[in-house]
């Protein structure tokens, strides 16, 4: 008994999308235009933890994002890299919920505009920030206002 998955009611598909991890969402969006649209317009569900971070790794440093056990990293903490992350996020989900979310910037900086774009549609229980400079702390304080219902540790 063959059945086209895309004939499932929208409610089922959206429920299903909440159970699908980030890497699997990437595969799904390559199957057809309808799935590409569904992936980008659906909620990614709930993850216990999430992160965005940079760290020292030789000359260029590394930038990464995490969704529970799934971590994606790139070499180089540059504006171009931030754009790539925003691009990926835009095409993979519209919203997502995290129990805990941490921002740890040890190399370079995370512009407020990036932080706001990246976390658009996020729901976060507990925020954890690691700021190494006064400028980073100021960014963080502005960023916090975006999530008045979350708890924080800095």
């Amino acid at each position: 008994l063959l059945m086209d998955i895309l004939l499932l009611p929208d409610l089922f598909l959206r429920q299903l999308m909440r159970k699908i991890g980030i890497k699997d969402r990437m595969s799904l969006r390559l199957t057809c235009r309808t799935f590409a649209k569904l992936v980008s317009e659906s909620h990614a569900g709930y993850f216990e933890s999430g992160s965005v971070y940079t760290y020292d790794d030789g000359e260029l440093g590394k930038i990464g994002i995490g969704f529970e056990g799934e971590v994606f990293e790139m070499t180089g903490v540059t504006e171009y890299r931030l754009e790539e992350i925003l691009h990926m996020r835009k095409f993979l989900f519209q919203g997502v919920s995290f129990g805990k979310f941490s921002v740890t910037i040890k190399v370079g900086s995370m512009p407020l505009t990036f932080a706001l774009h990246y976390t658009d549609g996020f729901s976060i229980g507990l925020f954890r920030f690691y700021a190494i400079s006064a400028a980073a702390l100021e960014n963080t304080m502005q960023f916090i206002t975006r999530f008045p219902r979350s708890k924080y540790t800095i």
Binding site: I5, K19, I20, D24, S27, L30, A36, G45, Y46, F91
Partner: protein, 167 residues
């Protein structure tokens, strides 16, 4: 006490009251028809019509309910309400669903949704998510009978933009 359920193809299933109550839809209908556990006459004289469920699917639903009738009611956590649940499909449920082709899973999912049996609905959607897990796009397309309408150039472009995540 038993409750009579009648499917779209006019098949009558006589099930235990506890099993009938596992469906929110059936519970509501019984309430509307003044059917109560303590009133045998009300149960004997009425049957619940289920026009959206066929005999074959109903038999599967009842089999699932029989297995789960003594389960402790699950408390809905805040995280569950927000979405992606850490739903673990039990070994029995995996076995129960493993031989269902995708089309049959969809029919069962439709019945679980109509009957409002949340546990079964979650089991099936998690099973489908597990079927997708770790597969490449062409494997998913083949498994679910999806016709890919993306051009090779478009696929290449998408892959290029997300190549950094693939390592």
């Amino acid at each position: 006490p038993n409750v009579k359920l009648v499917t779209s193809d006019n098949e009558e299933f006589v099930v235990d009251f506890r099993i009938a109550k596992m469906s929110v839809t059936v519970s509501r209908l019984m309430e509307a028809m003044n059917m109560s556990e303590t009133d045998d006459a009300s149960l004997l004289s009425n049957s619940i019509p289920l026009p959206n469920v066929t005999k074959a699917v109903m038999a599967r639903v009842i089999e699932w309910c029989e297995k789960h009738k003594n389960d402790e009611p699950k408390e809905e956590k805040e995280n569950d309400k927000r979405g992606r649940t850490t739903h673990v499909v039990s070994d029995w449920d995996k076995e129960f669903l493993k031989n269902d082709e995708f089309g049959r899973l969809c029919q069962l999912m439709g019945a679980a949704n109509y009957l409002e049996i949340k546990g079964l609905f979650n089991d099936i959607s998690q099973t489908i998510a597990n079927m997708i897990h770790g597969k490449k796009s062409d494997e998913i397309a083949e498994m679910f009978n999806i016709h890919c309408d993306l051009t090779e150039a478009e696929k290449k472009e998408i892959r290029k933009k997300t190549a950094w995540c693939e390592d």
